[in-house]
Amino acid sequence: MSTPTPSRRPLPVLDIDNRSFWTGGGTGKLMITSCVDCDYLIHPPTDFCPVCESRRVAPKAVSGQATIISLTVNYRAWYPDLPVPYVVALVALAEQPEVQLITNIVDCDPLEPRIGDRVRVKFEQCEEVFVPLFVLDRGA
């Protein structure tokens, strides 16, 4: 059994702050807003660095590697044609673990992922949005 790819993802309204995150996958990169002066990753993105108070920020490509810090297997279909079960996880980015992304772990049996597993990003294009999803990094 493989995890069904949930259809009809509710897509985000893109804005000045979040556009790079949601479209960066078009070049295969996970883009996280970063402080130009101290390299702190700012997520959710804003144009203020909470560490050094710099207002100079820019999207930065990160490795796309992360660790599952929590996960749930959702069995309830919240609307009629939502395929279940599916895995919702919270992953911590390798470069700066306090950046936590809610995501789906895909391309595996939904009962396979575990807290602590290494994962890597893959993208699913929906209209102009490239939704960052994660897969188990079996080589790790």
Binding site: N74, Q100, I102
Partner: protein, 395 residues
């Protein structure tokens, strides 16, 4: 008299609750009027004595039943003449409306505040309006952009992420978790107003389907139609009223963590520890002084978290504390969720907890009355990045 903290100047002087049901025979406004008039009468007051109103989160008008009635509708229905009114959604969970009322009373803006919460989700769901967060096909805005694309748009899925981390770190076992739901049902059997009153066995709990692991269906509270109201009065105006004075001993309302469902770093404890710490810093009372605890059970794990974060047991030892259910039963060392909680008495969003704490401290519990004349209650609400709590004491 001067008080060391503003909340100590305030008392709950009356309570009211509509019929709580899975299918109301009245409108949401009708239920709200029932609760409000009952609370006013219970406090020994009349409509014209009510000079303040607050509610959480305020009328939303989105058809979901989450909060169909706001202050304008109730004020007009009762023709109240108010010196002060406010709602608040961005606050220390659902108790924010109570905390606002405390500040208004302490500031002498008003004497008697009607605080209410109305839900109409049972009826709304029958009409198909389950979730206002998004409509299939529509784009999502603002903070929902970080959850909704992953089909994590309901509280159960989001909060399951906290609970899964708690299970991972604590090692709590499902048969221990089950005791929260079983205890609720056992107490609900003694509460004629509860929604679900049939006893729940461990086998039934374990056999129930998952909603989103580790949450089984019995770990999730039950959407209802109903309204609860309480009257908050200055203690100087409370002494002449019929009910024994229940004063607010201490509140916890802080926000010391990242207020984000995805970025909160303290997954296993949620935002509760510093909120509880604030509450205990404002009183000489200790956890051992608490006679009854009405702990938020929107999901069973919230109750488990609060047991630890209030200090009723040590970190990650709540499973052991509730194992077998005897400690938390009505005749146990710490009776919790004595009316059945939101899991069995219905999702009154912590206002059921306030109502029940007053019932217990006023000795009105009937068959479910905690023995020994309880005088100190601990109450808590919310989860994730939100948390609020307070101590209620019979003066």
């Amino acid at each position: 008299m001067t008080y060391s903290h503003p909340e100590k100047s305030c008392a709950i002087t009356g309570i009211g609750q509509s019929v709580i049901s899975r299918a109301a025979e009245k409108s949401a406004l009708g239920l709200t009027v029932d609760a409000a008039m009952q609370a006013i009468e219970d406090a020994g007051l009349r409509r014209e004595d009510i000079d303040g109103v607050s509610t959480w989160p305020g009328g939303l008008g989105d058809g979901t039943g989450f909060s169909p009635i706001g202050i304008p509708a109730l004020q007009d229905a009762l023709r109240l003449k108010l010196n002060w009114y406010a709602n608040t959604r961005e606050t220390a969970g659902q108790f924010g409306a109570l905390f606002l009322a405390i500040m208004a009373v302490h500031a002498r803006l008003c004497r008697h505040v009607l605080v209410f919460r109305t839900m109409y989700q049972a009826t709304a769901r029958k009409a198909g309006l389950v979730n206002a967060s998004f409509q299939p096909g529509a784009r999502v805005h603002d903070k929902m952009v970080w959850h909704a694309p992953y089909h994590a748009y309901v509280a159960a899925t989001q909060q399951a992420l906290y609970f899964a981390r708690y299970v991972h770190e604590s090692g709590i076992r499902p048969e221990q978790v089950a005791q929260v739901a079983i205890n609720g049902r056992r107490n609900a059997a003694l509460n004629p107003a509860a929604v679900y009153r049939k006893p729940l066995t461990l086998d039934e709990y374990m056999a129930a389907p998952y909603i989103s692991t580790p949450l089984r269906i019995f770990d999730c509270d039950v959407p209802i139609d109903g309204s609860t109201a309480i009257i908050v009065s200055h203690r100087e105006n409370a002494g002449d009223l019929p009910n024994p004075v229940l004063h607010i001993e201490a509140i916890g309302a802080s926000m010391q963590y990242r207020n984000s469902w995805s970025q909160l770093q303290e997954l296993a404890t949620q935002a509760q520890p510093k909120v509880a710490e604030m509450m205990w810093s404002r009183t000489d009372l200790k956890p051992a002084d608490v006679d009854v605890a009405e702990l938020y059970d929107g999901f069973s794990f919230h109750t488990i978290n609060w047991l630890e974060n209030f200090g009723f047991c040590n970190r990650f030892e709540a499973g052991e504390f509730i194992e077998g259910g005897t400690r938390i039963a009505l005749d146990g060392e710490l009776p919790i969720n004595t009316n059945g909680g939101a899991l069995s008495a219905g999702r009154m969003h912590a206002y059921g907890q306030i109502h029940e704490a007053c019932v217990q401290l006023w000795g009105r519990g009937g068959e479910r009355q905690v023995k020994g004349d309880p005088a100190v209650a601990a109450l808590s609400t919310a989860g994730g990045p939100l948390a609020g709590c307070f101590l209620l004491v019979r003066s």
